[in-house]
Symmetry: C2
Subunit: 471 residues, 2 copies
């Protein structure tokens, strides 16, 4: 409960009262994110300095008030949802610091900086910030760090975590610490940097990050490979990746996603097919020309109908635009989209496609499959209507079965969206009791009052199950 | 204290009594590693299964007996030293599992497997296991994982941690847990995998690892660049790395290391120079031919005397042999070598060279500098004689000053060797009190009885200082 007295103390901590929001309308607009559910906070604070954050967190910890850090709210797993009320810390105003050091090839950023802006600045120095989640033009780096965001380039370049060299953190008790540094090699004690990245704001608040940049590849080459059977597409992915070539992106779109895009905004994709794979190669111009031909041959050998190499920049951009349009296109069919990111070992992609087809038929749901096929990070999306309670019951079961299938195939609940609220009930299924217990011990050691983003990652009650719609 | 009764219980846990060593000679041969100091354990156990490890650790935890995991003892920071006696767990016998899955491009290994054997097996499938610590032909993967070993390829490919997808762990209380999995993308809860890797055996024992492999580059190209002034060499490194080219290796050898190698085993290196840089490029054959010329031009522009591109495989191998000979060559001068791995941001390399020259002159010590210049991970080596107590006092001071210089320049105590025993007193200098406290909390939460490799990473007494020689 945030009393007037607490509000007064917050006013003295915050440099400006304008960055304290208490109006009902504000509370409502901070009650949801890109996932499911809505929960009103009691207050919104928009800090723009480490000292403000430390002050807020110290107070929150003293008073045992939940603290929910938030970027631009694009989370697909409920990361910023204030499920127990309390304070939302909105970092979207804290965009001031975006420094590129070309000599050390690092970027130093404040948490509110938009992800795509980092790469745009890096590009001016011939450098690349590889992580490219779909939402990179709206999401903040703070949110990307908290959730360890992925993206298509993960195949060749890895995920957000792989580019974080150092952090400044406010701990759950309000202390300011620095982890890592400016060097790639650093084995001084425990790797708190890589522990904090992806911990979904449950172990502390990131107030600054030092990110590694790499030389920008000289050239890229895009191609589209067409399949009459999605299972063959799965085989083609494996065949390419064991041929000695590592594309920078390898994305799949199934028939339903192609159809949706063409209905939404005609790009000229072939619609009489079962699946397409979009492939991007990057590197030295001569090398990728040579490699494109090899990739084409490999795909044709495992049963692709056709492989079309984009003839220029414009047609390449057109193909990637199609991929970006999948999400907005599919929500036109029905209002509710449940976007999963169950990830399986590459060799299990054909088998996962089979399982998804079965689940779709069994529960009679609208299931669209696309995603980062190259690293096994698929995005099965269920398109539904949350008002339709009968259908939602089937959806709940289908989601459970998707999670089970991923784990049975040696995969994981979440490749890049995070656990948040929705997948918490399934944690023990993947980690086992002892594995989950070791994570809980860490949380308790760092956050004894459980004020940092409570209600995320860990199931709050034993035997908790997925519930999308409450009767 | 390991009583006869405990030995009896250990016999019932271990599948064979032959893998329990109690002889005085054995205890002595497990008392040291590649670093400083010697401490006798009370017993040596050589487990070859997870169940044996779990059984041993449960017993050790019950009886509060220190457990010291050990691979082949090549640690340069005291990782396996049994500083409080107790049990040494020697994993060098557990070499049974080395499975390559070419489709998922992963290797699954037991902890005793020799690191270089993993890459040798990967190569048979056209794959690469990038981490290449100098000791890779003798060190175990278990030791590499515990210490997060680096190596020359770290510049382009990162370190051991960057290639670990999943682990099986025995916790300090003897539970068996699995972390991560087989997929690159995995955000299911806290990243225990990357926390355990590099935790120097203080949070649990690694009993199996799933490692990521990548397509093996088609070709490599080596070159040697010669400098009349080591400061210019530092500038050349920066210039190359900001030119848009990322070499796979970029190693420096100063005048003293060149001299030592040529005296030890003449390779034909130029000895009338201040420093050389060895550079390796890898990738598509046409691309690297083109890039070699660019690198050469860049180096000449910033003052290199000459840049020689190796004309064939043999002359390339010869150059890399020279680099590998530095360590054995320098110990011929005096019997004691103190090998540091203080790491600084790349842009600070010239300044660090200046500081090292000053430290060398100030304390009148034999200081040789070589190492992984491209990522700022230098190896200042002090060559001395531990019998010479007067000189050792100067050495202690020089080591302290090297650490201080690295931290003042925004670097870190250790890039790849680990903290172990010798650098523990300096942890607070780098991390601050609160930063160190958060690591200690984690250790206590996981290992309440402090049985897992106690005496490492964390200073055991407040204000502890570096002491190499006791009076």
């Amino acid at each position: 409960m945030i009393t007037e007295q607490i509000v007064e103390r917050l006013k003295s901590i915050m440099g400006s009262e304008k960055r304290i929001l208490l109006e009902k309308a504000d509370l409502v607009s901070y009650s949801y994110d890109g996932s499911f559910g809505a929960y009103n906070p009691e207050i919104i604070l928009q800090p723009v300095s480490t000292e403000e954050v430390a002050g807020i967190v110290k107070l929150a910890n003293d008073m045992k008030i939940p603290v929910y850090p938030r970027g631009r709210g694009t989370s697909l797993s409920g990361g910023p949802l204030p499920v127990h009320g309390g304070m939302v810390l909105d970092f979207s105003r804290w965009t001031q610091k975006l420094i590129i050091d070309p000599e050390d090839t690092v970027a130093i950023v404040s948490p509110g900086v938009i992800t795509a802006d980092i790469d745009r600045e890096a590009q001016r120095h011939g450098l690349l910030y590889p992580p490219d989640p779909s939402s990179s033009h709206v999401s903040t780096i703070g949110g990307n760090l908290a959730e360890n965001a992925g993206g298509p380039r993960g195949l060749k370049y890895g995920v957000t975590k792989d580019y974080v060299l150092g952090l400044e953190i406010v701990t759950p008790e309000g202390d300011i610490i620095r982890t890592g540094g400016r060097t790639v090699k650093n084995v001084t004690g425990y790797d708190l940097t890589k522990l904090i990245v992806g911990s979904e704001g449950t172990l502390g608040i990131i107030t600054e990050a030092t990110l590694q940049l790499i030389p920008r590849p000289q050239a890229t080459q895009t191609m589209m490979v067409i399949f009459d059977d999605i299972i063959d597409a799965g085989k083609a992915i494996s065949a390419v990746l064991t041929s000695g070539i590592l594309p920078s992106k390898m994305e799949i779109m199934d028939q339903a996603s192609i159809q949706a895009v063409e209905e939404f905004q005609p790009i000229g994709l072939p619609i009489d097919v079962d699946a397409i794979i979009l492939i991007e190669l990057d590197g030295h111009p001569i090398a990728i020309r040579d490699e494109s031909e090899q990739v084409k041959q490999v795909c044709l050998e495992v049963g692709a109908r056709e492989a079309i190499i984009a003839r220029d920049e414009e047609s390449a951009e057109n193909l990637w635009k199609a991929r970006k349009l999948v999400s907005p296109a599919i929500v036109r069919k029905k209002p509710t989209k449940i976007s999963e990111d169950a990830t399986i070992p590459r060799s299990k992609i054909p088998e996962m496609f089979r399982r998804l087809q079965e689940i779709k038929a069994k529960y009679e749901i609208d299931l669209v499959v696309f995603g980062h096929a190259g690293d096994g990070n698929l995005h099965p999306n269920i398109i539904t209507d949350k008002q339709d309670k009968e259908e939602m019951k089937r959806v709940e079961k289908a989601v459970e079965e998707i999670f089970t299938a991923a784990i049975e195939l040696g995969g994981t609940l979440s490749g890049e969206h995070g656990i948040g609220t929705m997948k918490a009930p399934f944690m023990e299924m993947e980690l086992g009791e002892a594995g989950l217990e070791m994570m809980i011990r860490m949380k308790k050691a760092w956050d004894p009052n459980n004020i940092m983003n409570p209600g995320k990652i860990f199931p709050e009650t034993k035997g908790q199950r997925l519930v999308l719609v409450h009767d």
